[in-house]
């Protein structure tokens, strides 16, 4: 089944006239991990919200084999897992367990199956111990990993993460990277954290003023300092791209893929 994204001429303007997306052409293939880079206000979050049908602009958009439109929303949201930037927005239920079960239960799964999904998803982000906790009792890094579990429990085909390493201390960031590297999914990661992109993604796209201005191998894009500078991006000073390897992919999916519908 397709986990791909095909966007052609995707545009969206906010009611105040700001063109957040200005004719995006983007094609992501099954199994790819793509970093979406760009300064604040480049349209990264707007693009992300489109992939789940939370915003609808003009142009063509096909995600995970589905034409995005009002009729396809439930199926689209099953196949596309969106992890929001602020885990406090994502975790709205009183306990972690109920929050992770929210998606599976909305999909119409039985309570037993939902319970299994909760255990499996919390396990794959190493948060098994937190099921009975309230979100406010968790550290930022833990909240972020639980937020990822809430969408993994729906077994999406495509995982979309908005600034996953924002507000994390170095240790929480490393733990998050380890968790993300083990997830076998097509992945779109919007981030300012260029070293994270270098470790996680083989491909990178730069978004600026609502357009794709660069698209290619992550290492080549990150190695082009003129391109980065032109788009208000930069690697940490002294960062040596050659000494950071792409993390190896897991051999088999750690969670079974959804059956073809």
């Amino acid at each position: 089944m397709s986990c791909a994204i095909h966007a052609v001429g995707l545009s969206y303007s906010y009611p105040n006239g700001h063109h957040a997306l200005d004719g995006i052409d983007l094609h992501v293939n099954h199994g790819e991990r793509v970093a979406v880079l760009g300064p604040n206000g480049a349209g990264k979050t707007t693009l992300m919200l489109h992939l789940n049908g939370l915003m609808t602009g003009s142009g063509m958009l096909e995600v995970a084999g589905i034409d995005v439109g009002p009729k396809t929303l439930p199926e689209l949201r099953r196949r596309v897992g969106l992890v929001f930037q602020d885990p406090d927005d994502q975790l709205f239920m009183p306990t972690v367990e109920e929050d992770v079960a929210f998606g599976p239960l909305n999909m119409g799964l039985g309570r037993e199956e939902a319970g299994r999904r909760v255990a499996e998803a919390l396990g794959s982000v190493r948060m098994e111990y937190s099921a009975d906790r309230a979100p406010y009792q968790l550290s930022m890094g833990e909240r972020r990993r639980v937020a990822i579990a809430t969408v993994l429990a729906m077994r999406p085909n495509l995982l979309v993460l908005d600034e996953p390493s924002a507000n994390l201390d170095p240790r929480a960031r490393r733990e998050l990277l380890e968790v993300l590297a083990r997830i076998e999914r097509t992945m779109l990661v919007t981030t300012h954290d260029l070293p994270l992109a270098a470790e996680l993604c083989e491909r990178a796209v730069i978004l600026a003023r609502g357009r794709v201005v660069a698209d290619g191998a992550c290492r080549e894009i990150l190695g082009d300092s003129a391109l980065l500078r032109a788009n208000d991006l930069e690697l940490p000073s002294g960062f040596d791209l050659d000494r950071v390897g792409l993390r190896p992919r897991p051999e088999a999916p750690d969670t079974p893929q959804l059956e073809a519908v």
Binding site: R77, F84, D88, D89, P94, T95, E98, F102, N106, M154
Partner: protein, 261 residues
């Protein structure tokens, strides 16, 4: 989370022995029994002292079984009682009858005073009932109990979100207060309160924006108007016994008091 706010929020958690038989009861059983105690006390005539004593005994028995200490009850009740008593505070001065006592420029009437004491006792019984419910039942369980008792779902949802985001908002308020204090803001006259007004406006806007993001996060995981539940409540024999015991003693109490009167 900082300062005084977090202290009073901690008082919303469980107290006593979380493994006690009372803590383990179904929330519906506790809600029903403690509402019954309150109703019986409130509906009894002002002079029905045996009924008040009986209600207090029932509450004391519940507190002992739950191992909630008197100091725990007092620490929580003292936040609620002044508000409840405020409504009755004028009674000794305006309700005439019986002996009068001069209290500086004010005159206290005996009848008014006895009505005030009876009302205070009723308020105290109601408050302690609520405190015991809160000390033996987590807030999410109370909500689940109320939902199972057919309280309108919208009210439950509002209360659930309020509870979830109370902590987030308290944190944000704490940060804003710190930011004001860091710039030497020390309100001395009412005219200086303008900054607090702007802070409230900022809080409102932030909360509104967060509400929108949370709603997006819910939609992204397939929310379609109903909050799914992972594990439904089940009434066990202990729950039924508890309610029956409390109700039976209350009915006996009222009957005996009526007959004696």
């Amino acid at each position: 989370m900082g300062g005084l706010c977090s202290h009073s929020l901690e008082l919303t958690g469980l107290a006593g022995d979380p493994a006690s038989p009372v803590h383990r009861l179904d929330p519906r059983a506790k809600i029903l029994a403690l509402i019954a105690v309150t109703l019986v006390a409130v509906s009894a005539p002002l002079t029905a002292w045996p009924v008040f004593a009986g209600c207090a005994l029932v509450l004391a028995a519940v507190a002992v079984a739950a191992r909630v200490s008197a100091s725990d009850i007092w620490r929580r009740a003292r936040f609620i009682l002044p508000l409840v008593l405020l409504a009755a505070a004028l009674l000794p001065f305006v309700r005439k009858g019986g002996q009068t006592y001069e209290l500086g420029p004010l005159t206290v009437h005996e009848d008014g005073l006895s009505v005030f004491v009876a009302v205070a006792v009723k308020a105290g019984i109601g408050t302690v009932s609520a405190v015991l419910l809160g000390a033996t039942t987590t807030f999410p369980s109370v909500l689940r109990g109320l939902e199972a008792m057919r309280v309108p779902r919208l009210l439950i949802l509002i209360a659930a979100f309020m509870y979830r985001y109370l902590f987030v908002i308290v944190e944000e308020t704490g940060r804003m207060r710190a930011a004001l204090a860091a710039r030497a803001y020390r309100p001395r006259t009412a005219l200086h309160a303008g900054a607090l007004g702007r802070m409230a406006t900022a809080m409102f806007l932030r909360t509104y924006a967060r509400g929108e993001r949370v709603y997006h996060a819910m939609l992204a995981r397939g929310y379609a108007g109903a909050m799914p539940q992972l594990s439904p409540l089940v009434l066990r024999r202990a729950d039924v016994l508890f309610v029956a015991l409390v109700l039976a003693s209350l009915v006996a109490l009222r009957t005996v008091a009526e007959v004696a009167a």
